[in-house]
Structure formats: structure tokens, C-alpha cells
Symmetry: C2
Subunit: 264 residues, 2 copies
């Protein structure tokens, strides 16, 4: 568990629902679904029952009673306790008041983007742009529909927010795409060189001189050590400062056999 005794966001939803009225787990799940909350809070049965049990253990909710309809399986109805109510408010306060670091997949992908060849990156980013555009439009449509049905914005804030983020992502992808295509992105020569055909002697020579020019300008101190290993060359002047390095791109094409590790 993290700081909270029960850290799954689904638990927060359970607390919020039980703050409305007592319920049994399946009703929680169907209510969340009905209200489209499963779009912002990941819901699945396994987790739901695990989380309910954990909340009971933590004393945030209690089984109020069990009912049975005909020969259906018994349903246990839970209700919020006073500590549970406190936890609900405290947790909400934390989530709303303090931005938290989130690890998204696109972050991961961007941080490793240099492993792809620039051309591939452009194609794929264009793909993403297309799909994002479609999502943005779908979002507009959904909001229009909801408005027509009279759903006040208050109850769809999370979708508004998601729409804003998607738009920002789209904008960023478009900027990036433009800069790569126009070859104005700082570092693109290095990127291209790292993906140049290693059997082409001219490209290899270019790579070495380009890298040396970069280093002569004192650019990217942390890269020095990495480049030394990568290129088997020796560049004088200074040791790598810790914390100055970043992602070195992939240097080998798939067909290129790996070279032996650098001596230590």
C-alpha cells in the first residue's frame, strides 16, 4: 500500500457512493457504469471486491446487513463509517489540492523516441495526430449530446478536463511533427547520424565529425562518456558530470551484429 491504507482509486469511488447511501458491491459497479465514471476510474469486478474487503479491514466501511431476493445469492449491503467519511474528504482534498506525478505510456515512448529512425517517428506521430484529432472531435460530439440531454457541465468536469489535455497533446504532437519534418529540432543531425547506414563510409565519417563538433561546442557534457563507448573514439577534455546525461539513441540497425562490450 502507499500512503493510504487502501490506495486504489476505485476505493475512493466506493467511499463516495456509500456517502450517498448504503449499497452492495454490484450496485456500486452498475451505478458507476450508469454515471460513466468507469471512464475516469478503472473498474473491474475483481478489484471492486478486493477493495471493498480492504475498506472493511481498514474500518472505513461496514457490512450493514445482507438481503436475499428469492434464491439469488446473498447481497451484502455496506455503509460508510465516520472514519470512512473522514478518509473520503481527506483523500479528495489531497487529490484535488496537490498535483501528483503520473507515468503515462506516451511519456515513456517519447523518452525513448530516438530508438526509432526519424522517418518512422514522423510516420507514427502523424498516425497519432490523426487519431487524436478523431478523439477531440468525438469529445465535442459527446459534449453536445450531453448538453442536449441536459447534463449539467458540473457532472462532466472530468471529460472537459480530458478534452483539454487531449487538445494540448494534439498541439504538442503537431509542433513536434513540424519540427522533425522541417529538420529544425535541436539534435536532429545526431539523430539522423545514429540511424545512418553504418556501412556507408561517408556517413560514418560525417557522424564522427558531427559528434566532435558538438562536443567542441561543449554541448551535452553528459553525452561525452556515452559517445566514447558508442563510437570507440577518444575525445579529450573533462569527465562527465553526473546528472547531465540523457537518452543516447540506438546506434545499430537491426541487421548490425553487436560489438563486444567496452573494456572497464
Amino acid at each position: 500500500m502507499g500512503r493510504r491504507k487502501v490506495s486504489n482509486p476505485l476505493a475512493l469511488a466506493v467511499l463516495a457512493l456509500l456517502n450517498e447511501r448504503p449499497m452492495h458491491p454490484y450496485e456500486m459497479s452498475s451505478t458507476l457504469r450508469e454515471r460513466h465514471k468507469e471512464e475516469s476510474i478503472k473498474l473491474n469486478y475483481g478489484s471492486l471486491y478486493t477493495v471493498v474487503e480492504a475498506l472493511v479491514r481498514a474500518g472505513f466501511i461496514v457490512a450493514a446487513r445482507t438481503v436475499r431476493d428469492g434464491r439469488r445469492p446473498e447481497r451484502t449491503i455496506y455503509e460508510l463509517t465516520e472514519p470512512g467519511r473522514v478518509e473520503l474528504y481527506d483523500w479528495m482534498a489531497e487529490l484535488v489540492g496537490t498535483p501528483a506525478k503520473e507515468y503515462t505510456r506516451f511519456d515513456a515512448a517519447l523518452s525513448l523516441l530516438p530508438v526509432l529512425a526519424p522517418g518512422d517517428a514522423v510516420r507514427l506521430l502523424a498516425d497519432r495526430r490523426l487519431r487524436l484529432t478523431a478523439e477531440v472531435e468525438a469529445g465535442h460530439a459527446a459534449r453536445t449530446l450531453a448538453e442536449r440531454e441536459g447534463l449539467p457541465r458540473l457532472f462532466a468536469l472530468e471529460h472537459e478536463y480530458q478534452a483539454a489535455l487531449r487538445q494540448a497533446e494534439l498541439d504538442y504532437v503537431e509542433r513536434l511533427l513540424a519540427e522533425i519534418s522541417a529538420r529544425t529540432l535541436d539534435g536532429i543531425e545526431l539523430w539522423e547520424l545514429f540511424h545512418a547506414d553504418p556501412d556507408d563510409p561517408e556517413a560514418s565519417r560525417d557522424a564522427v565529425t558531427a559528434v566532435q563538433r558538438e562536443l567542441a561546442r561543449g554541448r551535452w557534457a553528459g553525452m561525452r562518456a556515452i559517445l566514447l563507448r558508442e563510437m570507440g573514439a577518444h575525445v579529450p577534455g573533462g569527465h562527465p558530470r553526473p546528472g547531465a546525461g540523457s537518452c543516447p539513441p540506438a546506434t545499430r540497425s537491426p541487421s548490425d551484429p553487436h560489438r563486444p562490450e567496452d573494456p572497464r
Copy 2:
């Protein structure tokens, strides 16, 4: 596991590193750290070794050899296999090309925002704005520093992206804050009424008439059923359409004892 045989993004980082050159796990972790990739790819030792083992099982990497320095524990050096290289490219293509749904905590919090009283929400959102502003500034400073050190933007794309998203979040929070404060947010009267003192007879009367006015306008069809249960009143005209509902706010103040469940 998801679609991938190994789905942890850390596995992607491992593949990317081994695409550069063979390494042992600890070196992977220190390299990721050195390059600041732990800021966009969650890294911890437990997961790293689990993931490496899983990649071996999947045939994406193999133990090339083991070395021992003096009396240190043996280090196993891994290298990428051809299927591993394919997986790396395929996975990157998926991540870059296709936007994926992410569940963030703030999404969850926003989707449950009505459980907080409007006043509390305003205070907390103002808090968030403050911290976000600080983060945005820290981001600028970091970029300036990196620039001075000569780190090409290409190797800090993920930070650029995160900065763009943070800015978008800040903008959204400011819009929302303004709208709540100015009471122009659609649905705010309902929100206030749901948090009105239930012992104040005037407020309660207001609540009923407000809700009935909403319903008379045909607003928020899906809310109908919820309100019926919540208020114990009966409003004629139509059953709730599935998929039209959203989040009903909390109706009880913490001191208010719960009422018995509605009869079925």
C-alpha cells in the same frame, strides 16, 4: 498480462538499453537514472529484476554471460535477441502511433468533485493552481539549465511534453476556478443545494423547487431516478434513459445520520 507478453513500460526501457549494448540489470538502472529516464518511466529494483526475468522467459533477451569482479556477486549480462528487437520496434510503434486511455488521479478526483462542498473545492483548486504554477516555473528553469549544458531538445522531448500538459492543466484549473467562483458553472445551483444545511427549511424547500425546475426543463434525464431516490419525491414523466446519468453529488453532511435504503 495485457496484449504484450511483458507489459511493464520498464521492459521497454530494458529493450531499448539492450538495443544499444549488452548490460547487466544494475547497469540498466543506473543508466536510466543517469539519463533522467526514471522521471518518465517508473523504475524500482524489484520490478527491474522481475521484468528482466519475464523478458528472458518471453525470449526477447538472453543471458550472454556472467562476470565477477573480485569477490562481488556475479553479474549476469543480457543481450537483445532478434524477436526482442522486433518487439521493441513494434511496441514503440504502438505507443507512439496510438493514443491510449490513461487513468490519472486527477480524473478520478474531478469525477467525484461534487462530494466536496463548492467552497472546499475552490480552496483546494486554488492550492493546486499554486503548486502547478511552481511546477511550470521549475520546468522552465530545468530546461534553461539543460540548454546551458548543451543537452539537445531531442533528448528531453518527454519533459517538453510534460511541460505542455502541465500548462494545459493549469489553464483548465484556472478556468474552472473562475467559473466556480463566479458561479457561472452550469449546475452550480444544484451543487450548492446538495450541500445546503438540511436543517434549514428554506434551503430544503429551495432544493426541491430547484430540482423540479431542472426536471421540468427536461434536463439531465438520467438524474431523474437518482433524485427520486435521493429526495423521496415523485416526479412524473419518463423512465431514465440508460447512459444519460452522471455523478450525483453527496447529499448528506457528515453529521447527518443515514436514512434507510429506499424500498425496492
